[in-house]
């Protein structure tokens, strides 16, 4: 039986996430991989498994690393105290992987969209005419 082959960096990283209602829900900023028990001495030869897609400013900051990453993470913590902005989407909630990645959940269930909401509430909504902007 043919199984689908995916080059993870090329086909998962930075892909657009689309929620169950067809709304944009951020991008894939990293991918969570579970190592087998007792790796690298796992006697059954089990392979690591992709468990979740990670999205959000906190994840992106860690991926950037360095000053840029630390600065980005500090800015996020300032506007959202108590959270690092990481959103983990279990692979069970992924419906399709293509040019975009379709989810089985609503974007409102993702903590990774908080920064976008903050900008919408505190900046975008203050601009005259913003009330007529499309969703």
């Amino acid at each position: 039986m043919n199984a689908r082959v995916i080059d993870a960096a090329l086909e998962l990283l930075d892909r657009q996430l689309i929620d169950r209602d067809g709304k944009l829900a951020g991008n894939v900023d990293d991918v969570e991989i579970a190592l087998p028990e007792n790796w690298p001495d796992n006697e059954r030869g089990e392979l690591p498994v992709v468990t979740a897609l990670l999205s959000g400013p906190g994840v992106l900051a860690e991926r950037f690393g360095g000053r840029l990453g630390r600065g980005w993470a500090a800015f996020y913590r300032r506007i959202h105290p108590g959270t690092d902005g990481s959103g983990s989407i279990p692979l069970a909630q992924v419906r399709d992987i293509g040019s975009a990645i379709r989810l089985a959940i609503s974007r409102d269930e993702l903590s990774s969209t908080r920064m976008e909401e903050w900008f919408r509430r505190h900046l975008i909504s203050k601009i005259p005419g913003a009330g007529h902007a499309p969703e």
Partner: protein, 120 residues
């Protein structure tokens, strides 16, 4: 572990020789069946080498054929190879140590685009 913890690290074989850097991680949807996503995605290997840039830009995929000049230039260097996951022994901050010699690594075969790609 995160995907970003593997990417761009230098792969060193048992003789201390460099096989290049990790440019991608090849996963295959052949794991245990899950409730909503068919089979689980399992990590089978690391795409490694200096020439792996062509793969990152999509030229490692059979569906991407042009412009042929760019393809020819990108593929003129070293060809990307695959490090099977069972040869990965240690993941360090900047390096990944593997068993055996990097001379034994097979060339990374292009995957046909998207669904139904043949398993390696």
């Amino acid at each position: 572990m995160r995907l970003s913890e593997l990417l761009n690290k230098e792969v060193i074989d048992a003789n201390g020789q460099s096989a290049g850097h990790v440019h991608d991680v090849r996963v295959i949807q052949d794991g245990p069946i899950t409730s909503s996503f068919d089979a689980a995605l399992r990590v089978h290997g690391l795409i490694v080498g200096r020439g792996a840039l062509a793969n990152r830009l999509g030229y490692g995929r059979s569906a991407v054929r042009g412009p042929w000049v760019i393809r020819a230039v990108l593929e003129a260097g070293d060809k990307p190879t695959v490090v099977p996951w069972h040869r990965v022994r240690v993941i360090e901050a900047t390096r990944i140590l593997i068993t055996g010699s990097c001379d034994d690594l097979e060339r990374a075969r292009p995957v046909s685009d998207g669904r139904g790609a043949a398993r390696e």
